[in-house]
């Protein structure tokens, strides 16, 4: 039956089963591959992956660096800095476009065009304009995420806030600033959080791609390096970490949306 609800216990059980099935399929593939070639590292066994994890979290001889820590800090600082700027800019652009027709007229076309250009195609431009530094990675995320996010906020500010609510706020004594902050922003906040949730994936893509090409530390750099050395036990570990961290960020945003906007989706 379409949309028939299931019990929460059943939902959790099915989720666990789906992960176990994935692990099972991987194990089968790995065993099969190692049956063909006992020295294979492209589909490592669980014990090989364990060795990769151990190598990633053990201080390196000489430098004493823990590569997972170094890569994690570099990547997530870049990700959160980029997202912070992108969300801030998108919020300002989106709300201004939804509230003021002249701003809408000025920004709508450039944003639509910018949203269609993949930031990875802009690598050369960023090399020249920003240089290869922290700003390069942040620019990739900001350029990739801001236009789409701004368009989502603009649509929400325009469609989800009927004129009647703004007129009513004016009759209650709201200034323009209060109409924007107390009505428009509060109304679009859940949509903003939902849009950011959807943009986490693309932001990771842009960042990892940039790190893959030019970084000397970070998840993208490590994936390239270990991939070339065919150390897939580390590659899979990093991919798993990327997936898990993405899932956690998504869950944190969902929790924030539920806490900040309890009215949404009730």
């Amino acid at each position: 039956m379409i949309r028939r609800p299931i019990k929460p216990g059943t939902r959790i059980t099915l989720a666990i089963v789906s992960v176990l099935v994935l692990c099972g399929i991987y194990t089968l593939l790995s065993v099969r591959q190692h049956h063909k070639n006992p020295n294979d590292t492209t589909i490592p066994t669980w014990s090989q992956i364990g060795e990769g994890i151990k190598k990633s979290v053990t201080p390196q001889p000489g430098s004493g660096e823990i590569i997972l820590w170094e890569d994690g800090v570099a990547t997530y600082v870049r990700l959160f800095e980029g997202l912070f700027i992108a969300v801030g800019a998108a919020l300002v652009f989106g709300i201004a476009m939804g509230c003021y027709a002249p701003v809408e007229a000025v920004l709508q076309t450039p944003l639509s065009i910018a949203a269609k250009i993949p930031p990875t195609a802009m690598l050369a431009v960023f090399f020249v304009l920003v240089g290869i530094n922290q700003g390069f990675f942040i620019a990739m995320i900001v350029f990739g995420v801001t236009p789409t996010l701004a368009q989502a906020i603009y649509q929400s500010a325009k469609k989800d806030v009927p004129e009647e609510l703004l007129n009513k706020a004016a009759t209650l004594g709201a200034s323009q600033g209060e109409q924007i902050w107390n009505v428009v922003f509060k109304q679009v906040l859940p949509r903003l959080i939902e849009s950011v949730r959807l943009q986490i994936g693309p932001a990771m893509v842009f960042l990892i791609a940039a790190e893959y090409v030019v970084a000397d530390v970070g998840f993208g750099y490590r994936l390239r390096l270990e991939g070339r050395k065919v150390n897939f036990n580390i590659v899979y570990f990093y991919l798993g970490l990327l997936g898990a961290s993405g899932f956690l960020i998504d869950y944190a945003l969902l929790t924030a949306r539920r806490k900040l906007c309890p009215w949404f989706g009730r």
């Binding site: 004129e163 004016a170 009759t171 209650l172 004594g173 200034s175 109304q187 009215w263």
Partner: protein, 312 residues
């Protein structure tokens, strides 16, 4: 005829006309509403009732003529005029209590005040919440203060919306078909609630105080107009313009302005009491066949002076 000298006029329309491009909507509306009156505006679909309301609200100022609130020209919305819409009546991200207290916050504080004088703001907020709760109890929602609009019925939402407007003590409360989307029983409940406001006016007049509530209700329900208002205006595009019928009318105008019977909130509704007037309004305002002369049935003030007493 104009209101007699000394009348306490809240709102006056002087030669108000409005049009959109070549579409002429309202033509030369002249109207004075006295403090404490409950005035219904009825008329056929497309006659410009909502345009009139927007002109008074200030979101769509008239193209010609003026709207004066207590003698001052209206150019934009302000807290001297409250509004209750049929749809989008509440902020869905606020509870009933917060929706009602919202106006008090906006009126008495600013964003910098709330940020930089946080302690004082917290104290004020408690008082705003208390006032909101009192009003919600008054409109019969004492047990729904923490509910969000999505968790309330249409009738409950409209009660909150009325409380939200009343808490600001507006000089004029505009009701834009507020009960149009409600079922019959809920609508009747809310109509009685509006009649309690009329009772408060009556009580204030007896005590020699200015009546607190002046209401302009836009509705397409004739029974509703006659039941809860003490004055009915008929706005129509079907009137006799320069003896040439309604085809050449330059927009709708007021063709009917007469007193309506008054009711107590707790007495049963007896439609028989206003059947004759309802038929009269239907013939004059809604029938394109016999377009009236706009002056003939616009005699609220004349009749009141003739009656020689204030309609309480």
């Amino acid at each position: 005829m104009n209101p007699p000298d000394g009348s306490d006029i809240v709102i006056r329309l002087d030669g108000l006309s409005h049009w959109f491009g070549t579409n002429r909507v309202l033509h030369n509306l002249n109207l004075s509403i006295e403090r404490g009156q409950m005035v219904a505006v009825v008329g056929p679909s497309g006659c410009g009732k909502s345009t009139l309301l927007r002109a008074i609200l200030g979101t769509h100022p008239p193209k010609a003529g003026s709207v004066l609130m207590d003698g001052k020209v209206v150019t934009s919305p302000g807290f001297d005029r409250g509004i209750v819409y049929q749809r989008y009546s509440l902020y869905e991200f606020m509870t009933a209590r917060e929706n009602v207290a919202f106006g008090l916050m906006l009126r008495h504080t600013t964003i910098p005040f709330r940020v930089f004088k946080w302690g004082t703001w917290r104290m004020m907020k408690k008082d705003h919440i208390r006032q909101a709760e009192e009003l919600l109890v008054k409109v019969g929602l004492g047990n729904a203060m923490d509910k969000y609009p999505a968790e309330m019925s249409g009738g409950m939402c409209q009660r909150v919306a009325i409380a939200q407007a009343l808490v600001m003590r507006p000089k004029l409360l505009l009701l834009d078909e507020p009960f149009g989307a409600l079922d019959e029983a809920t609508r009747e409940d809310l109509q009685r609630m509006v009649l309690t406001l009329y009772q408060e006016n009556t009580r204030a007049k007896i005590e020699g105080k200015p009546p607190p509530h002046t209401i302009l209700l836009v509705t397409h329900e004739l029974n509703e107009a006659l039941y809860i208002c003490d004055r009915v205006l008929g706005l129509s595009q079907y009137w006799n313009y320069q003896g040439a019928g309604h085809d050449s009318c330059p927009g709708a105008t007021i063709v009917y302005d007469r007193a309506a019977p008054t009711f107590e909130p707790n007495t049963p509704r007896e439609f028989e009491q206003f059947v004759a007037q309802r038929d009269e309004i239907r013939n004059i305002v809604f029938e394109p066949e016999n377009p009236p002369d706009p002056e003939t049935h616009r005699d609220f003030w004349t009749r009141r002076q003739t009656a020689g007493s204030v309609n309480v």
